[in-house]
Symmetry: C2
Subunit: 336 residues, 2 copies
């Protein structure tokens, strides 16, 4: 019998997630049926979206999440032993899984990890995976940036924001980033070549934009929502475009006591702004296009990535909680 370890929902999050909201349990796995594979987690992802969907999971459910896993036993010819898969297998060390079983999940179906060459497999959870596609499609399709335009990114040192800023630069835009520490700001300026970057905890956002974007902002990629985003909206140029990818500033807010921020509608009306939210799975039919383009940019060294690696499966809750404390630079991943 093979045993797996997994994290299940013990208590629904209230405010910032706490370690004992999740419980580590051991379970025996059944033997494989036709079509199934047994796979062992190698890299696991922690992402802010999990905070939003976790309250919809019944207590006792496995925590949701994607992993890179190695196939260690297989009764599916398309998924042979020794290969790696990328799939929504949840927070567990070993999974019995049928990668071709129809599902109602909106997430990308399980796929064999494409050939990354010399690049680390963990990138399948970051620049060459869901966050990469979030940046690639969510920025280019919704903001429709043109060379020479001014682009602002919030959460700019995060998994998605750090890629958006670089894609904007590749497309010939002027890029301004906001992040939450001096280290992050230094990384954005020195390694990612943002035109300007600010620590929003030390620099007033309004003042920063008067300096860095005196003629206004064409595109805003919003990862944070809240007060900072309202301020950035007040600096948009007429007909500016806002791609709303996340609202991490309000994810931990109590559902009964919603976070508030200055009303955005006046900016939308008088600047004729267009603001659109998205979930990356709307581009599932173009998934591999995004991954291949991002891979080419990484290989050409046009695009720099960084990972914040937590060692040990049992430290997943810690890595997850760190997301909301701004502890990660680039993509947060866990090495099983």
């Amino acid at each position: 019998m093979v045993k797996t370890k997994k994290f299940v929902v013990a208590k629904h999050f209230e405010g910032e997630p706490k370690e004992n909201d999740l419980q580590l349990v051991e379970e025996e796995l059944p033997s494989l049926k036709d079509g199934e594979i047994l796979c062992e987690a190698v890299w696991l992802s922690v992402d802010p979206y999990m905070r939003v969907f976790a309250p919809t999971l019944p207590k006792g459910s496995i925590m949701i999440g994607t992993q890179v896993a190695k196939i260690i036993e297989s009764r599916n010819k398309g998924f042979p032993v020794g290969k790696y898969v990328v799939g929504h297998l949840g927070w567990q060390t070993i999974s019995v899984h049928n990668p071709q079983q129809p599902t109602t999940s909106p997430m990308a179906p399980t796929y064999l990890l494409p050939d990354f060459g010399e690049l680390p497999l963990s990138l399948a959870l970051g620049a060459l995976g869901m966050p990469g596609n979030t940046a690639y499609f969510g920025f280019l399709e919704i903001c429709q940036p043109k060379a020479g335009e001014v682009v602002v990114v919030s959460g700019a040192a995060g998994a998605v924001g750090s890629l958006v800023g670089q894609i904007a630069r590749i497309k010939g835009c002027k890029v301004i980033g906001f992040a939450g520490s001096d280290d992050k700001v230094r990384w954005l300026k020195d390694d990612l070549h943002f035109d300007a970057a600010y620590n929003y905890k030390k620099t007033d956002v309004d003042t920063a934009l008067k300096e860095a974007a005196p003629n206004g902002v064409d595109c805003y990629f919003d990862n944070v929502g809240g007060v900072m985003s309202s301020t950035i909206l007040s600096h948009m140029k007429p007909k500016g475009r806002i791609s709303v990818c996340g609202s991490i500033s309000s994810y931990n807010a109590d559902a009964k006591q919603l976070a508030v921020a200055p009303v955005v509608q006046p900016y939308l009306v008088f600047k004729e702004l267009k603001m659109e939210g998205f979930v990356v799975h709307r581009w599932l039919d173009r998934w591999m296009e995004g991954i291949h383009q991002m891979k080419d940019w990484v290989k050409d060294q046009q695009l720099v990535y960084r990972e914040t690696i937590t060692e040990g499966f049992e430290n997943m809750p810690k890595a997850f909680i760190g997301l909301f404390r701004g502890e990660n630079i680039g993509k947060a991943v866990v090495k099983a």
Copy 2:
């Protein structure tokens, strides 16, 4: 010498506009030059947008606004005596004006009032003018409503909102309106045949939408912004569309103490909503298309209009202030 009376900015508005923020002055008008007309205001418009732009006017400037005026003297063959014009002549009784002079104003250039048949000329400031086109283009172009969809309108008994709801009904949508008095709600239900209408001062918006739109809202035409709009956004269906026409709930807010409301970004992301603000002048090249379509609907009695008429030019400030107190039903106009 011809004398005119006009209202000029005496003091910039702080909070709700006050009567003595505007000053009534008399002025002698010069005689006509080639190309100019002398015209006498017949109907004058008061609109919420004036609150927003007035702070940009230097003190002593004439208050901005549109009027229907009769040509009483002319040195312009295209604009003969006895005809009526619709133009941005400001708050004054008699104007010397060159209707063909190039202008940098984004507003519609002065035009001869089209043949309205039996319909009152004042409609050129309402259903068959700027507010009508705001409803027609701003709703149809941005929301792209489909028959059978659920449409919510805030400020539903106002000049624009009352038309949007009826256009939605003509297009086969289910229409839900929010307004600020029982009289308005009765009018929306009995005369305009909204499927549902609520007095937001007495009925909780969240509860109302659970009742009237249990499966969610496809399109929202937002006239008000603020807390009510955040609540309505929380009821949108996936891929819902929001046309942001105004934000009257925050127009009187002190610029230094911005109005706040629950953060909208989480709804935008997880429902993949599209929210776009607009100013009607983006459709200037289709201006007459809107007016003719609205005129046909009014003549066919598919579209009902209502006006709140204030008598006397000197009462313009009172009519204007009334807009922010919700005193008007339908379009507020002043009879000179």
